[in-house]
Amino acid sequence: MAYLIVFGPLLAAIVAGLLQKQIGDRAAQIITTGLLILSAILSIVTFFDVAVGGNVRTLEIARWMAVGDFEVSWAIKLDTLSAVMLVVVTSVSSLVHVYSWGYMSHDPHRARFFAYLSLFTFAMLALVTADNFIQMFFGWEGVGLASYLLIGFWYKKESANAAAIKAFVTNRVGDFGLALGIMAIFFVFGSVQFDEVFAQAAGETGRQLRFLGLQFGALELIAFLLFIGAMGKSAQFFLHVWLPDAMEGPTPVSALIHAATMVTAGVFLVCRAHPIFELAPATSAFVTVIGATTALFAATVGLAQNDIKRVIAYSTCSQLGYMFFAAGLGLYSAAMFHLFTHAFFKALLFLCAGSVIHGLHEEQDMRKMGGTYQVLPWTWILMIIGTLALTGVGLPILGIGFAGFYSKDMIIEEAFMMGAAGVPFGTMAFWVGIIAAGLTSFYSWRLIFMTFHGKYRGDPEVLKHAHDSPPVMLVPLVLLAIGALFAGAAFKSDFVGKGALTFWGDSLPAGPYAEYNYGAGDAGDPLVSNAAGEAEHVDDAAVEAVAGDSGEAATTGSATAGEAAAEHGEAQEHGDGHGGHHPPTWVLFMPLIVTILGFLGAVWFYLMRPELPGRIAARGGPIHAFLSNKWYFDEIYHFVFVRGARGLGDLFWKIGDVRIIDGLGPNGVAGTVMAGARRIARMQTGYLYHYAFIMLIGVLGLTLWLVLRAGV
């Protein structure tokens, strides 16, 4: 079964890719989509088997290579972490496949497109089911390749090619870090198997490693290098530049690769390698900072973008930042939870955007949209659902909300708790999370208002022919919307709540929230959180002894509630002995408040006073320019790296290569050889006496040589 999940898409890719001329577009679509849907169904079955049934296992397929101690196998590792990823990848992928039937219906190269999609899915599955770093790296590179191919799918478009190259090159930087990290792992542990490495990790905490002439803690260095890889793939700050440009690819690709799956590979990597990251506090702090910075940065840039897909792309970037700072703070399960819910609502948003673009005949500029909710009613409703999920709308009191509410608020609240407990940058992460949440709300609603409300600003001809999407595109949207609505509520307990204690098995720690609230044998109803959040808090507080300090708490289950309350300043502020692992109420409400503020801001700017933004943009304040130019990252990179690399390349080419290597090497040698050849040819005069002379000289020379040698 697991084989079929992983290799079904590969088979589909091969058949559709290599036989596209023979079988035609239609058959290629049917084969790829069919195998993907099968794969998705089997994934869900596997998910229940593995995550719920606890049937964790590793299927060894074949020995890949064995060089000395270096042994790598192809394997399918099935634990809860990979099972979650299997479900996310295959379900989103199959929905995207189906959606693409409609979206790509006019494209002449559909078979190629579907082959790439399936190839991507295979690589992603190989990545998540790896049981060693090398296979994961294979998948890692495989998704990079597929991403490159799909971004540049419309290869006749110059910007698409440029974007594909940009994505590939930027990812190379990260992949280089990852490769170095894997090498360091092999160097330190003598193995690349996850199990062996993680089991030994605790024993290597004191080890030092020399790198670039400096001493580093081995685990810190490994974690750092792995994170560089994660930064590249997940478009984190500094290496994020490729993601917005990747929107040149077809929209289903953006939904699948650049929102739901591939870009989350970095988060997956950090979670998979959490035993190493847990032992690398400095790197974890770095992860937190980078994640928080990305969350804030991308959200600010998202405010000023006018391309509908770019807004969502920056939103993705920002949400990935959330996941990373959660992982950096040690909240791996929360990060995975957000990854899970994010996959649904972000894919939904992208596909909705695709639906808009499709409906408005390839129009992507939001300034040329507006008032389209009447012609695109389904898309409008679904996109609002996606936006509500993204902005995390929900009622903290009742604990009811959209998917993002559970996962994002969990991250923000836990960040606060970690900050209070003294984890570095926790408090900063919390405030960044709050601010970014407000910005998220603003740009998300801005997108909705600019696209669907107000007056239509585009070409009237386009509006006349505008149409809502066909059912084949709407059905996946509806399914994703269901996920965006309920995925959070349905899985909160399993991912981060009470169920997390057993749900993750050995693959991930359940996270502080689950451990403190339920870890000490709390008998309370796990679904209480859905019923009444605050009440649950009170109940839990009575039973739960430990609060705050994670290091201490992990071992002490015996501290009294009073002590816990004393340790926990915020809890006291919150008042009346709510000593459990719960942030104060104001923290719970903060995300909602900023979300509402963001919403109101968007309403004010884009519904009530739609002329305001234009005026601000026209006035061209430095802040607006700064934001709409994406903090000038592309310009800086162009100046430093592109120009720098070109200058360096010129130097190496003109002086190093042409003058030194060619001059002394091929050209020089060839010149010498030809000169020698000419001389020898000239010696061949044709005169007999010359020939005889040379012969005699030869005899003389040989004799002399021997005589001299003999020393006579």
């Binding site: 050889v673 030809m674 020698g676 050849a677 000419r678 001389r679 020898i680 040819a681 061949q684 044709g686 007999l688 010359h690 020939y691 005889a692 040379i694 012969m695 005699l696 000289i697 030869g698 005899v699 020379g701 040989l702 004799t703 040589w705 021997l706 005589v707 040698r709 003999a710 006579v712």
Partner: protein
């Protein structure tokens, strides 16, 4: 000398006797067979081929595996000489096949040609069996005199006459050197038989007289294999002589002379290995260098092949320079594979006939792969094999030659050889570039059946022989078993 011993001695010489007597008979046939010169020439040619085949069969049948001498030790009969003889006879047959049609179309068909070939082969046969300086010189001169005439066979052509004359004068000079060396050796060794020389060398390896004799002797022999700096005649003669003659020059005589050198160095002068190693190394490096660089500027494919043969003799000498038994094996293997390659290549050159006549410039091969794919493939395989590209058979020749040098501690020589090999591969590739990538410049006329067969078989063998290289090597080891080391 009783009749018995005489008969026994003569029986060891069966192949030579067949050829010698046969040559006389052929001469008579040629003179008395009839008036139609063309018919007579053809008849004599085929008879000569038959004769050579008979000699080849006889030499193969005679192979007993033991080494015996005849005529008071002047003539040696061992596996080494028999292997060389078989190879020479077969090479001569191929050369004859290549010649027949050419001579007819070029109006050179005369019955003397096959007779001269047979006589030259008789001389070579004696050379490889010589065990005495007298036999050596006898064989050498017999071969050379026939070859001088062959070089100038197209006597109405100025170039051919010039080539023949040059070859003759320089050959006389080399013979003089050789004789001078022989007399020095005789003076210091007190005998002309190889056994006597060996004994003298054994007793005084540093004898300056013997050393001088050796240098002159080797110089004379080096002329025959066209090793630099005694190579000067080669390009002119290859170019001037009729192509089949050049093809013959490049194969059988080279093998005979090289085998002779190997025998002279490893048997009578075995004790002086340290000294002659130096000479051979110098000859090898010069030959490889001049062969590699000289060919770069050539536009005439026959001249180019002349330089190629100079270079290849250099590689053979590298093997010989090792002074070990492996070296001798490598020499035999290399020569065998080289002859196959060269015979095929000359087959291709002989196929370069347009309606206006023979052409022999490199650019005439342009686009051969399009106009005549079979020929194009054949020349590709042949040239790459001669150049020593893995994995064509020629590669193994070079491999063993260098291996022998490395085994003997001459790693630097192997490196130098490999570097020259890189240079030389460039002109083979330059030809192949014309063959495969340039625009065709007119087609060649279909080659005569014999030539075509030689080309195709030789071309194929560069690949087909691959599995049998080990077999061939075993044969070579058997042949070289008694000699060297």
């Amino acid at each position: 000398m009783t009749v018995q011993t005489l008969l026994a001695d003569l029986s060891l010489m069966t192949p030579e006797l067949i050829l010698a007597i046969g040559a006389m008979v052929l001469l008579m046939v040629g003179v008395f067979a009839g008036k139609d010169e063309l018919k007579v020439a053809r008849l004599v040619s085929w008879l000569a081929i038959g004769l050579l085949a008979a000699a080849a069969i006889a030499s193969m049948l005679l192979s007993t595996g033991v080494s015996t001498t005849a005529f008071e030790g002047a003539f040696i009969h061992d596996t080494f000489s028999l292997y060389a003889k078989s190879a020479i006879y077969l090479a001569a047959i191929v050369a004859m096949i290549l010649a027949i049609n050419y001579l007819e179309t070029e109006k050179l068909a005369r019955f003397e040609y096959p007779v001269l070939i047979v006589l030259a082969v008789t001389g070579m046969s004696l050379m490889v069996s010589s065990n005495d300086l007298m036999t050596l010189y006898l064989g050498l001169e017999m071969q050379s005199l026939a070859l001088y005439i062959l070089a100038a066979f197209n006597r109405d052509s100025q170039r051919a006459s010039e080539a023949g004359l040059k070859y003759f004068v320089l050959g006389a000079l080399s013979s003089g050197l050789l004789l001078y060396g022989a007399s020095l050796v005789y003076g210091f060794a007190g005998g002309t038989s190889f056994a006597a020389i060996a004994a003298a060398a054994e007793s005084d390896p540093d004898s300056l007289g013997l050393l001088f004799g050796l240098v002159f002797l080797l110089s004379g022999l080096a002329f025959k294999v066209s090793a630099a700096p005694f190579h000067m005649w080669t390009p002119d003669v290859y170019e001037g002589a009729p192509t089949p003659v050049a093809a013959f020059f490049a194969t059988a005589p080279k093998l005979a002379a090289m085998v002779l050198i190997a025998r002279v160095l490893t048997e009578p002068f075995a004790a002086m290995a340290d000294q002659w190693q130096q000479i051979v190394i110098v000859l090898a490096i010069l030959s490889m260098g001049i062969g590699a660089f000289g060919a770069l500027m050539q536009s005439n494919i026959k001249r180019l092949m002349a330089y190629s043969s100079i270079a290849n003799m250099g590689y053979v000498l590298v093997g010989l320079a090792s002074g070990t038994q492996i070296g001798v094996w490598a020499v035999l293997l290399y020569m065998t594979l080289y002859i196959v390659g060269v015979a095929g290549t000359f087959g291709v050159i002989l196929s370069m006939r347009r309606s206006e006549g023979m052409v022999e410039r490199v650019e005439d091969l342009s686009g051969l792969a399009q106009t005549n794919p079979g020929l194009g493939l054949a020349i590709t395989g042949l040239l790459l094999s001669i150049g020593g590209m893995p994995f064509l058979v020629g590669f193994f020749g070079k491999l063993f030659v260098f291996y022998a040098a490395v085994e003997a501690g001459l790693i630097w020589l192997a490196v130098v050889g490999a570097l020259f090999s890189i240079v030389s591969i460039s002109y083979y590739l330059a030809i192949l570039k014309r063959v495969w990538f340039d625009e065709p410049r007119g087609e060649f006329l279909p080659a005569p059946a014999g030539v075509a067969a030689v080309t195709r078989i030789a071309g194929l063998s560069t690949v087909v022989l691959l599995p049998f290289v080990a077999l061939l090597f075993a044969q070579v080891i058997r042949a070289g078993g008694g000699i060297g080391g």
